[in-house]
Point group: C2
């Protein structure tokens, strides 16, 4: 095969990938070629626009390391992450809705006892989080793993901190639900924040006339044997970015009030010398097929 | 806007990028979102397939540096480079056909006098290249810059050589056509070669049941004031990979015999003590609009 023109090249590449041994690889490759070529044919890029696209992808790759994932940011900001999420979570009643994982999950977060302060020494308003994990019929799940993480009140995660603080986990922890399927812990109240926008994704958002902000939220990844792992956030009611989240992650069912309380008795029966906030959410897991 | 499902998320992202100040950025962004979402909706990737895609892009980025361009390889092997080429070169009669740039062009190649040996000391059969550069009416273009580069007879370019040989240009040079629009130089005969396939693109080709080989070729980039810069190759007639070039770059008009001659008088009137090959091509440039 040779002498391809702008219409025959697509058939030629499709014929080539038809040799894939794995039918899924073949199907994905064929779909990729068809849609990618349709995109290119629609926009008719100049040679210098093609060079700019290569440069954009190369710059995006250059920013990725063990602490920053610019390709996940790209997937998130183009709505692809939420689309994949929606496709994979056509949920039954009783299951909590899902949202994006985001680039700041750390698999090795420390397991802490229920009630622990997972942000000791971190500046910010105390936030007491309580909740439960149940099956689709509302029965408690004991021993579910509740992995949780969030930003500080300037909007930065621990993994975004300078190198001298590396390896110091803060504002993240892993808890196990008790015999009644409940969990509780103490932390600080996270703030709305811009996604990292000093790289190619930030430049893309600016060119598209978009802001990089996400409403304040606490991440949860909840797992238990026999259930689909739940990846979601809980957002703060009233946040100004709920309707313009840069990564399209907000769902009404994931919004809760995080009420402010005057100094005094906290939900864990300790006494807070300063005003504090509370957040409660009851999570439902979907049974594995 | 919130509560996106697998159909409404696309409208939401399209509405967001509609704020782009530059109409071209808006058009490209909208097309990207529509085609990318259509691809995702068609293949319905699992979460782990999405993770594999992020890993593929991240691995592709990790291999890019000033000597290797894995994203160009990806564009080439998916037929995107040839599609962009075809869209940009709907050529008039008299203009040479174009093909991919490839990842091995070096902007800073040395300018050499006509007749120079651009591969001194490099092992291989001598190849004497002669040709001309003309306008669409066949009139010679004097002072055209003929940038040329190719692999050695093992299929490697100078920029792929170990670090200790860095900065040593070989098998590449830049010549200027004479008063009759002609050029000639000496080099060695390049071989067919596999594109670098030890990275993500190589793994993709293997999974798709494809070989990574390209037929033997000499690259040319030819420029002159008032004309479109020509990016092309000249392939060797009879090469076994002409019909299965891994990057879809072959066109009949770019194939020539590279005949072998016994030791004796070479085209530059010198005497070759060993057998040698010759290659002749007359290039036509397209006038700028």
């Amino acid at each position: 095969m040779r002498n391809f023109d702008e219409t025959t090249i697509t058939e030629a590449v499709l014929a080539r990938v038809a040799n894939a041994a794995d039918p899924r690889v073949r199907a994905v490759s064929e779909a990729l070629v068809r849609h990618l070529h349709a995109f290119v044919r629609e926009i008719e890029p100049s040679f210098s626009e093609w060079e700019a696209a290569i440069g954009f992808l190369t710059g995006t790759g250059a920013l990725c390391d063990d602490k920053r994932q610019e390709f996940i940011l790209l997937s998130d900001t183009l709505g692809v992450s939420m689309l994949v999420d929606a496709i994979n979570h056509r949920l039954p009643d009783g299951a909590t809705e899902t949202t994006v994982l985001g680039p700041f999950f750390v698999a090795a977060a420390p397991e802490l006892p229920l009630g622990a302060d997972m942000s000791p020494g971190v500046e910010g308003d105390p936030l007491y989080v309580t909740g439960s994990v149940t099956d689709p019929e509302g029965r408690p799940i004991t021993g579910a793993i509740v992995d949780t993480w969030h930003s500080d009140d300037d909007g930065y995660y621990d993994v975004q901190k300078p190198a001298e603080e590396e390896g110091h986990f803060a504002m993240r922890g892993r808890f196990r639900t008790d015999a009644q399927g409940r969990f509780h812990f103490r932390t600080i109240k996270p703030a709305a924040y811009p996604i990292p926008h000093d790289g190619p994704v930030g430049k893309m958002l600016e060119a598209q006339g978009r802001h990089p902000w996400r409403p304040a939220h606490v991440h949860f990844m909840i797992s238990a044997p026999g259930y689909e792992t739940l990846v979601t956030h809980i957002f703060e009611e009233g946040d100004r970015y709920l309707d313009s989240d840069a990564v399209f992650g907000v769902k009404d069912s994931l919004i809760r009030a995080w009420p402010r309380h005057e100094a005094g008795q906290a939900p864990d029966a300790s006494t807070s010398a300063v005003p504090f906030h509370t957040l409660t959410y009851d999570f439902g897991l979907k049974r594995l097929d």
